[in-house]
Symmetry: C2
Subunit: 257 residues, 2 copies
């Protein structure tokens, strides 16, 4: 009984992704670029059990949401795997410039690659083009795409480390609008699939994980909850619950989405 | 940060139901009548964090799934709130006889009242009739019904302590087949609403809790999972995740079911 009691604490877990010396264990990744308070970023990262720290620059106006020097005073940033993101980019060229800045200024070599159109949804074609160029330059890539299995396979073939597949538009909170194509990608891919975009609540995260996602990424759902820290904790439980359910081999009737 | 770290352990939580000296805190209730192993019952109760122990007799053949004397050797049964169930009953009279046996043999005064038809779904009319008779006899009642708001209000008016509303047929694993009427009951009732029946996986439990259920009851989902203990742990996380999400005040787009 003692064993079972203690196992209620979230298992540390084997890494679901390893890139060089960097291991990704937490099944929940959080975006932090919407916060303007260092202490809030610290608390969100702590409560969610995050082991990834996402940073970026805006290549066009050199805007950064928070100063890293301030964050570094509040958080032991060395505990995290640092990855960069191009989430401000609206073109391949902008993404490539962002990547170069992140590499040159921070030494980052792992990229959460986003190339979104003006409607803020991924531009799959430009993302694939950017991926080819960045791979040739030695980047480890985690590209964000609309759920299209052919595109997913092309990015896998290009050597990407993981795929990030859109559940519903970023910030929409609408959850997994159409599970079919996402399930198809999870089933077809041999690299980890992260479900991201529009995950608004615990039930969305649990569903994604039960579908076999390696991890989920949340952001706006925390920012817009009346109590962001409580939602952050909820999301951590939900990611663990969903993963455990997936691993437990649920009764077949409960697997359909 | 220390505070937030420690708060990842499930909060003990205020009781969501108090009946006399008995308090219900765990948001997850587990049925145990399908197990034939004492050690499995012990582990399931422990892993799920259950604080309710459900026992029954079959009034027609005096069958009890496990001998209480054996369980008592393996589990400190005094840690639990003991409630009886009439889940074997297929008529009002059978339920009343079961209740009388549970009272006379075990001193139980809290009843998980089930009167199901031959199709194994609740017979709302007979359940209400049984509730009136049992209330007159001093029982604390938690009746199981098909989601019908008028029936829910009638049972509340009859003095029931909590309502148990069917998500989908018991054992089906199909989750919340039609959230609308269940949401209607949760919104209308002033007593706690437990969602039960067909909850097959973590995502179903999270959804029910996000709808505002006070608790969820699971049973077959654990028994039929390939790894019941892993699913039991998943369900515990899912109930907590869903409750926290509900309490956090999610963005409106994520509240719709």
């Amino acid at each position: 009984m003692t064993t079972h009691r203690s196992s209620f604490s979230p298992p540390p877990g084997d890494p679901w992704l390893t890139i060089g010396e960097h291991t990704f264990r937490s099944r929940l990744i959080v975006g932090i670029e919407q916060y303007d308070s260092v202490s809030v970023v610290r608390d969100v990262l702590t409560i969610t059990g995050a082991d990834v720290f996402i940073t970026t620059v805006d290549p066009d106006n050199r805007r950064s949401s928070l100063l890293l020097s301030d964050l570094d005073n509040a958080i032991d940033l060395d505990r995290f795997v640092w990855i960069g993101t191009t989430s401000f980019s609206r073109s391949k060229d902008s993404a490539l410039r962002t990547a170069a800045i992140l590499r040159d200024s921070l030494g980052i070599r792992i990229l959460k690659l986003d190339v979104r159109g003006e409607n803020n949804v991924p531009d799959n074609r430009q993302t694939l083009e950017a991926a080819h160029e960045l791979r040739a330059d030695g980047w480890a890539l985690m590209p964000f795409i609309l759920p299209d299995v052919e595109m997913a396979m092309a990015l896998q073939a290009a050597g990407c480390e993981a795929l990030r597949v859109m559940a519903s538009p970023v910030g929409s909170g609408r959850g997994i609008a159409d599970p079919g194509p996402i399930q198809e990608i999870i089933d077809a891919a041999s690299i980890p699939v992260i479900v991201e975009g529009g995950l608004g609540s615990a039930k969305h995260v649990a569903l994604a994980m039960e579908m076999g996602a390696a991890a989920t990424l949340v952001n706006t759902a925390l920012v817009q909850a009346k109590d962001p820290m409580k939602m952050a904790l909820s999301m951590r439980y939900a990611a663990t619950a969903g993963r455990l359910a997936y691993e437990s081999g649920p009764m077949p009737e409960a697997v359909a989405v």
